[in-house]
């Protein structure tokens, strides 16, 4: 059997070569697809890596921004930046240098204590080689950053100062990167890094470092703003202290001036008082009354200035005493009725909404002063033919609220003035015309503040003004009325008076002689101490300002003597009656204070008290 060899037909041969060609074509196609896939994968991986890096950088920027906003300490923020950049880039050593301008307007790069370095790397030599240098001069990465005002890197440290280069090289660090911290256009600091990575940072990294520089710049800006605010605050406090010192000086000046004015006024009023008590014909009496009235007015004016000085110095002490409010209202309206009549005004007092008598414990002086100011204003500002009504109202309770209203039929307060009438020196137009000091209502307001009360204004229901003030006061039992001082005659009291001013000596002598007392008068504190040592007295009246030894020192010295079974009462007789002064007198051992110019009734009240004590009727301690 012969095997038949069937040769390939040409078609079959062709088909085989077609198949090979087909396979080759498909293989090429496949290899193209593979290539394309690998390329796509490489692109995707690079994009993913880039995204990750960008995410990390965003996170770093956000963290730094947060740290910059949260931390009060700039160094903490800068340290965080060094650490974060170092860990993200792998640059091992970093440092922050501040740019400082000297007196000659030269910028200097000042090394700081802010360094980044691995714990096992000894950078002492590098730190030592890092010294202050002129900012715009020199090479290295610092010089380049200062010149380019942006992040940059150097492939070699060849342009660095030799000592720094050697110190860095010894650590295996031969490349540098730096970026500026910008505050506006100004470079506030430069951050530098050393590394040995071969390839420097790409443009994207440098742009990122510039962003970090901008974020850190905000922290610098904030610190500068805080420092500026601190300086402004310090300046403000300085101004405030200066203003307060000026205010104290003014108060002191007022105190001195008040003393200077009160001393001669004391003599004038005292002598007029003595004169008034002597036999006089009608004309003489009229003249003396004129002197007393004008002197009284001067005294009130002086008091109002002094009151205001006290308000300014914040010293408006509250002195509660028991008194009959109804009487007080009657007295004030009574005093002003004549003036109201002269101005053709009808001044009425309405006590229908207040118990009579109405004994309360409050600062009667403040209430009287306030009511007096309001009534006197009403008289001043109400045209002839008008009406003024003073009304006292209360709500009955253990600590009742009292409200005193002064209503007039005048023009009322213009709307534009209402908000400031209780401020010092804020005169309404009418007040200026009337020539006031602009203190009256401010003093009233201060009085009520001190009492924890309130004061206000509202237009009267029909026409005119309604000024009111209200305060809470404790109701007390009825008090015995003080004995009329005129009843005092021939008191057998031994009185020592220390007074250096001859006119005042004379006034005192005359007033005391009128009640049968011949005082021992000495001219200074030392003489008073001497007299008190050698002679027993029932009362010592002591001036404050005297030559050789002043009043308070003399009181101390007398108290130190420890004379008498019961200590001799000492009453200061002085024009210096500010709260501080009174405290000083009490501390020295004084029992009371009589203000100059002397109110005769007050002096006689003290004498009556001492007389009672001497007569054994009252062994109570002397009231202060």
């Amino acid at each position: 059997m012969t095997s038949a060899v069937i040769p390939f037909s040409p078609a079959q041969v062709e088909a085989a070569s077609d198949r090979e060609a087909r396979i080759a074509r498909l293989e090429r196609r496949l290899s193209r697809e593979l290539l394309a896939r690998r390329e796509a994968e490489a692109i995707a991986e690079a994009a993913t890596h880039r995204l990750y890096r960008q995410g990390e950088r965003m996170r770093l920027l956000a963290d730094l921004a947060l740290e910059a906003n949260r931390s009060d300490d700039l160094d903490t923020v800068l340290r965080a930046a060094l650490r974060a950049i170092g860990s993200q880039t792998g640059w091992p050593v970093g440092h922050v240098q501040l740019v400082e301008t000297d007196a000659a307007a030269m910028d200097w790069l000042q090394p700081t204590a802010l360094w980044l370095a691995p714990p096992d790397m000894d950078i002492v030599a590098l730190r030592r080689a890092t010294t202050p240098r002129r900012a715009q001069i020199g090479g290295g990465v610092l010089g380049q950053v200062m010149r380019l005002r942006g992040a940059c890197s150097i492939e070699s440290l060849a342009s660095c100062p030799a000592e720094r280069r050697r110190a860095a090289s010894a650590l295996g660090l031969n490349q540098g990167v730096g970026f500026p911290i910008l505050v506006g256009d100004e470079i506030a600091a430069v951050v530098e890094f050393f590394h040995d990575h071969g390839r420097g940072p790409d443009a994207e990294t440098l742009a990122f470092l510039d962003q970090v520089g901008a974020v850190l710049g905000r922290a610098f800006e904030r610190r500068r703003a805080e420092r500026a605010a601190q300086e402004a605050r310090a300046r403000l406090e300085e101004s405030l202290a200066a203003a307060e010192a000026a205010s104290r000086a003014k108060t002191h000046l007022l105190a001195v001036a008040s003393h200077e004015v009160r001393t001669p006024l004391n003599a004038v009023l005292g002598l007029a008082e003595v004169l008034a008590r002597s036999p006089l014909d009608a004309t003489q009496r009229e003249h003396v009354d004129g002197v007393r009235q004008a002197g009284g007015m001067l005294l009130r004016l002086l008091s109002s200035v002094l009151d205001f000085a006290r308000i300014e110095s914040g010293a408006t002490p509250l002195v509660p005493t028991p008194f009959n409010l109804a009487d007080l209202a009657r007295e004030v309206t009574g005093v002003w009725r004549a003036a109201a009549g002269a101005a053709q005004l009808d001044l009425q007092l309405d006590l229908s909404a207040c118990p009579d008598p109405c004994w309360i414990s409050a600062d009667s002086g403040k209430i009287e002063q306030t009511l007096t100011n309001l009534v006197s204003n009403a008289i001043k500002f109400t045209p002839a033919g008008g009406k003024i009504l003073v009304r006292v109202e209360t709500t009955p309770s253990a600590a009742p609220t009292f409200r005193i209203v002064v209503e007039d039929s005048g023009a009322g307060v213009p709307a534009e003035d209402i908000d400031r009438i209780f401020d010092p020196f804020q005169q309404a137009a009418l007040g200026r015309e009337a020539g006031g000091a602009g203190l009256g209502l401010a003093i009233c307001a201060a009085n009520l503040r001190a009492m924890g009360g309130d004061i206000g204004y509202q237009p009267a229901p029909e026409r005119g003004s309604q000024f009111w003030f209200s305060f809470v006061a404790e109701a007390v039992d009825a008090q015995a009325e003080p004995a009329p001082v005129d009843a005092l005659t021939d008191l057998p009291l031994r009185i020592l008076a220390a007074e250096d001013n001859p006119a005042n000596q004379r006034v005192l002598r005359l007033l005391l002689e009128q009640v049968g007392i011949t005082p021992t008068v000495v001219e200074d504190g030392a003489a008073a101490v001497e007299a008190a040592r050698s002679t027993p007295f029932d009362l010592i009246l002591m001036d404050a300002n005297m030559p050789r030894m002043d009043g308070p020192s003399a009181v101390e010295a007398i108290r130190a003597l420890g004379i008498g079974k019961d200590r001799t009462p000492i009453v200061m007789l002085t024009a210096n009656v500010f709260e501080d002064d009174v405290r000083r007198y009490r501390a020295a051992g004084a029992d009371g204070v009589l203000a100059k110019p002397l109110a005769v009734a007050e002096l006689y009240a003290v004498l009556a008290e001492v007389q009672n004590r001497v007569a054994g009727e009252g062994l109570e301690p002397f009231p202060i």
């Binding site: 074509r25 090429r28 196609r29 290899s31 193209r32 697809e33 593979l34 290539l35 394309a36 896939r37 390329e39 796509a40 692109i43 995707a44 994009a47």
Partner: protein, 186 residues
């Protein structure tokens, strides 16, 4: 040139003339032929491909590009349906190419250099479209426009009013929608 355009040309040529035709063009052009939509390739490589394809399909460069644009539109609609959603006419679709589609292209393909299209309404509902591109492919823009019209089953008029190929400083197309105009006039 972005790889996505190379891929699109491959799809159009393969769909119309078969995958072998594309292989042959690649072989004749002597290019690598491995294109990924994410990659970027030299403009020269693109031009070589266009030139080879033109010769192979017996078309001029302009004719090839116009044909490619017309035929590419259904492929684009399949790959990026979102770009076509919400449009009922090629007129509004074209109006959004510059600001919406090219903006999206930039998001997907970093560094893409898209042509700039500036549209201006002209009389009778038509638009004048100024085409600016460093690649001088106004014919492709025409093809895309015509392909878009076809995609929306519309007939348009397309006049290449000015062309850089003819020495004009820029290419300007006047495009009209007779059916829309007729509907508006009724």
């Amino acid at each position: 040139m972005k790889g996505v355009i190379f891929n699109l040309l491959q799809e159009v040529v393969s769909a119309t003339h078969g995958a072998d035709a594309w292989d042959d063009i690649l072989d004749e052009a002597g290019v690598s032929g491995a294109y990924t939509s994410l990659g970027s390739y030299d403009d020269e490589e693109w031009e070589t491909l266009v030139e080879t394809a033109s010769a192979r399909l017996s078309l001029s460069r302009g004719e090839l590009l116009r044909w490619f644009g017309q035929e590419a539109m259904p492929h684009l609609a399949r790959a990026y349906p979102v770009f076509f959603e919400g449009h009922v006419s090629s007129r509004s679709f074209l109006a959004g190419v510059n600001d919406i589609i090219h903006a999206e292209v930039h998001k997907l393909y970093a560094g893409a250099a898209c042509p700039h299209l500036k549209l201006r309404a002209i009389d009778a509902g038509g638009v004048a479209m100024a085409y600016t591109s460093q690649r001088r492919m106004c014919a492709l823009a025409q093809g895309f426009t015509e392909g878009a019209a076809r995609q929306f089953h519309e007939v348009i008029t397309f006049e290449h009013a000015a062309c850089v190929e003819k020495g004009d400083s820029a290419c300007v197309f006047h495009i009209g929608w007779p059916s829309l105009e007729a509907a508006a006039n009724d």
